[in-house]
Subunit: 260 residues, 2 copies
């Protein structure tokens, strides 16, 4: 076996690994889209499908992990090749987590479908469209190894955080108006939080793409800030959406890089 043959074969193996990540990204994207659709249409069958299909993403992650470790052991890669493999491990972990959030949105949609429709529900498809755009752009950026596209997607995550914070406050207000809104709005808040977290994992992937292509950590000022952590909404008027909203100024420290 010539050295050239071994080299070419390793390139093929790396391409195969990268294709696995791309496929997994496609499945994760479809899961998020279907989960959002299940909420919007109150479609219990679709929600159940999303919950069941989550196992596919777990299997993808296991395959990618096993393949990455195998290549690390057999090929002892350096530089760009090593970054390819480490990046596939990191991106697969983010996609698996995105799948968990999609499955949780689908699961909560089952509870929500049993309850009266509440107005803040319209914000879910709106957040959904933005999440889907960000995910699509990040996954295209991965396929094309396009750092600029990755950074552009990374920056749009801020819009998602803003949508989440506004839904959070709106949800609290509706809960104060009528106790029958409390359970459905609480599920909506958790769904919205799930979407905000999907956006965070998409930005993680964008950062990994930067590391993969450029070889260094992305070093931009973090745009994200989950303002909901500071929301203080008091029920001054209970018969209208005019509850008092007090919000502290954000301190801009690292805790803004919120996990929840």
């Amino acid at each position: 076996m010539s050295t050239e043959h071994i080299v070419r074969s390793f390139a093929q193996e790396l391409l195969r690994l990268s294709n696995l990540v791309t496929q997994m990204g496609g499945v994760a994207e479809a899961q998020v889209e279907a989960a959002v659709k299940a909420v919007a249409r109150r479609d219990v069958g679709l929600a159940t499908q999303v919950m069941q299909a989550d196992a596919r993403l777990d299997a993808y992650e296991r395959d990618i992990d096993a393949e990455a470790v195998r290549l690390l052991a057999l090929r002892q890669p350096m530089a760009q090749d090593l970054r390819e493999i480490v990046s596939s491990l990191k991106i697969a972990a983010d996609l698996e987590r995105i799948g968990d959030y999609a499955a949780n949105i689908a699961k909560r949609s089952l509870a929500l479908a049993q309850m009266p429709l509440v107005r803040p529900a319209v914000a879910i498809p709106r957040m959904g469209r933005l999440v889907e755009t960000i995910m699509k752009d990040v996954l295209d950026a991965y396929t094309e190894r396009d750092v600029d596209k990755a950074i552009a997607a990374w920056e749009r995550d801020e819009e998602l955080d803003d949508l989440y914070t506004s839904l959070f406050r709106e949800g609290l207000t509706y809960m104060m108006e009528d106790p029958r809104n409390i359970t459905p709005c609480t599920h909506l808040l958790f769904m919205a939080k799930n979407m905000e977290r999907i956006g965070d994992h998409a930005t993680n992937i964008a950062e990994t793409i930067h590391y993969l292509v450029v070889g260094t950590q992305l070093n931009l000022a973090r745009p994200k800030s989950d303002g909901s952590s500071f929301a203080v909404v008091s029920p001054i008027q209970l018969d209208g959406p005019d509850a008092q909203v007090v919000e502290e100024s954000d301190t801009g420290d690292n805790a803004n890089d919120d996990a929840m």
Copy 2:
């Protein structure tokens, strides 16, 4: 330079990497403990400290990632050594995320400290004690490479899920009793969810320890199930904690492995 010297020096480098992970674990554990204390004592100063200290965990993760990639490139490790390095990458990612959740708990405690005390708040220190025990056991299991201890901690995560589900329902009930409870109880629900997620990341670490020591994936039936996703609480009696709680039976599929 003799081969023996190189081998010994690699062992030292692996030990150094493992010690970094252990140190990072100690910091993450302290962050969780301080965040829970900040909630229980309504201690704004302590909460602020936790939010600021989160940057330390981000720095640890960057250092561990860089060191792991350096060792992969220079040492081209096999078998157990390779697993040590891959495990350090995975555990550092889980610990960083645990730190984010602790910081978010601390941040929400600032909002909570401005509001009247609500009864479900007592559940936070209770969940906190269990989370701290699970984290301590998992980190000890890592230091001692003790798979049995890791599995025992992994199994206790179910208790945490049960506490979370019961707090979720109790919180909804209190919100229905009095609209002034809505905002503080919503923050409590998100804090409790953060703790449940910290438990999930601790079980991820337990699984990584199994892979590290045994060389295969942990293959036990997953005990966890976040029942909150199915909670349907209706405000039948608004003047007491007797709101109707309906809960669907859990389907036991993969979506139980909840992200949120």
